[in-house]
Amino acid sequence: MDVIVFDNVTIGYDGNPVQRGLSFGVKRGEFWAIVGPNGTGKSTLIKTIIGLLPPISGTVYVLGCPATHVCEHRKRIGYVPQMNEIDPMFPATALDIVLTGIFPKLGLFKRPSRKHVELALNLLDEVGLSDKADAIFRELSGGQKRRVLIARALMGKPEILIFDEPTAGVDVASEEQLVKLITKLHSENGLTTLFVTHNVNPILDHIDKVILLGVGFHVIGDRKTLFDREVLRRIYGREVDIICTPEQKYYILPEDHHHE
């Protein structure tokens, strides 16, 4: 059974569509990339899947439950939002932030237990921040903050992991490490993964399916869709280079960092 099912769904805000007619099914354990220029609805799609935003029309099922229903399935989704959704100045340690990941599973008035603290410390270890548990969140680097949020998303032992631009604004080396972490979580734990990014290069080998979002239209397909010049031109509204190295590694360069 598909863990995420979209059936002819229109997404958007206050009745204003951002994307229409989305239909797809995500199978357990698949790695999906969601790509496209700014403002084409990547975050809107994520918010619809998580149930924060009701679809304008069509049906969305996640883990067998309508996405907008506040039921148990939500606790099985781990979500790492875009960085601008987090107050960068909030006073807390890395450990404090990771522990908030267990809040949905705690009852009213309940606090995290010793067990939860141990789990959080293990997860910080897993994301490579074993020495940063007591570090102040606002003093961490951009890459380290993402790791903390990934550890946080893992607290609830999710079956689906959703990342909204986890590598935006970090340097190339940190991006590589983050991608390594995310692909490791995917392959070792078989977690269904949705990954929004502006740079598909580091994840090309791991992608099962892609959703390419353009202004008011979309293309859904497997990895090969990313090598389709014509599709990329329509999505980005400009020429996009595809480079194939001698080792058969592909690079897609949709950004503006060449021939201006």
């Binding site: 987090i86 909030f90 006073p91 807390a92 404090d96 908030t100 809040f103 606090r111």
Partner: protein, 259 residues
């Protein structure tokens, strides 16, 4: 020591704890201006109570809560931004407040107390009200710690965790407006903002975690309240300004220490 000096010291301690606690959340949620707006709507309510001969605490509470709900609604439904909504309620209340003030006749000085504050004017009822609200706020913060923590860190994560973020912000706004109402007479409309913002800002500089920030903010608030009140009694100067100036000195020191 005379009973009204004891009362003055007592209320300055209570206010010094209460305003910095709610102020810490307002500071982190970037809604301190809401506190300033509430002080002015509460003043209008108090002036109305005095003009009509009704208990000012009641009318001030009514004004503040109605404005808090109005501001919450306008902001939530995206009709206006939060600062603009506050501006509307702020100015309309002040207009009403000044009109009522012009009708208070012999009681104009009572109304002025709410504007500039006077810890020596507080009654046992005022103290009981602040104490009750303080207990309520502490209980609410302890009971809803998870909800407050997460929704202040990130509304998006709070929503994704199933929290009703709109309801949480409505409650924080109502609680803040009640805290403002009960402390109005002691510190005054014009100066209350100082105890809301400065202890929180100073504590933010000095601490690294939310819980310690709130505790340190309260300590700074109590110190400002006590020292400000004692200085004002000895120097025969108005209390509100002394409290605010002491808080300002502490905040300046906190920023120096941090650099």
């Amino acid at each position: 020591m005379s009973s009204f000096i004891l009362n003055a010291l007592l209320i300055s301690v209570l206010v010094g704890v209460l305003l910095p606690i709610v102020g810490s959340f307002a500071f982190l949620r970037k809604s301190t201006f809401f506190g300033a707006g509430m002080a002015h709507t509460a003043f209008a309510g108090a002036a109305m109570g005095i003009a009509l001969g009704i208990e000012p605490l009641l009318t001030a509470t009514l004004f503040a809560i109605v404005s808090a709900i109005g501001i919450w609604y306008l902001t939530k439904s995206k009709k206006l931004t939060q600062d603009a909504s506050i501006g509307v309620f702020f100015s309309v209340s002040m207009a009403l407040g000044i009109l009522f003030l012009s009708r208070t006749g012999n009681y104009a000085s009572d109304a002025m107390t709410y504007l500039v504050g006077n810890v020596l004017a507080v009654t046992d009822t005022d103290i009981a009200a602040v104490f009750a609200v303080l207990l309520f706020v502490i209980a609410a913060v302890l009971m809803f710690w998870k909800e407050l923590f997460l929704s202040t860190l990130s509304e998006e994560l709070a929503k994704a965790s199933g929290l009703k973020v709109d309801i949480i912000s409505l409650w924080t706004m109502i609680i803040m407006s009640v805290a403002v109402v009960v402390t109005l007479k002691a510190v005054g409309t014009l100066l209350l903002f100082g105890l809301l913002v400065m202890p929180a800002a100073a504590a933010y500089q000095l601490t690294r975690r939310l819980a310690s920030m709130i505790v340190v903010a309260s300590l700074i608030g109590v110190f400002s309240g006590l020292v400000g009140t004692i200085l004002s009694i000895y120097l025969d100067l108005p209390t509100g300004p002394m409290i605010v100036l002491v808080a300002f000195v502490l905040m300046a020191i906190a920023y120096r220490v941090k650099r």
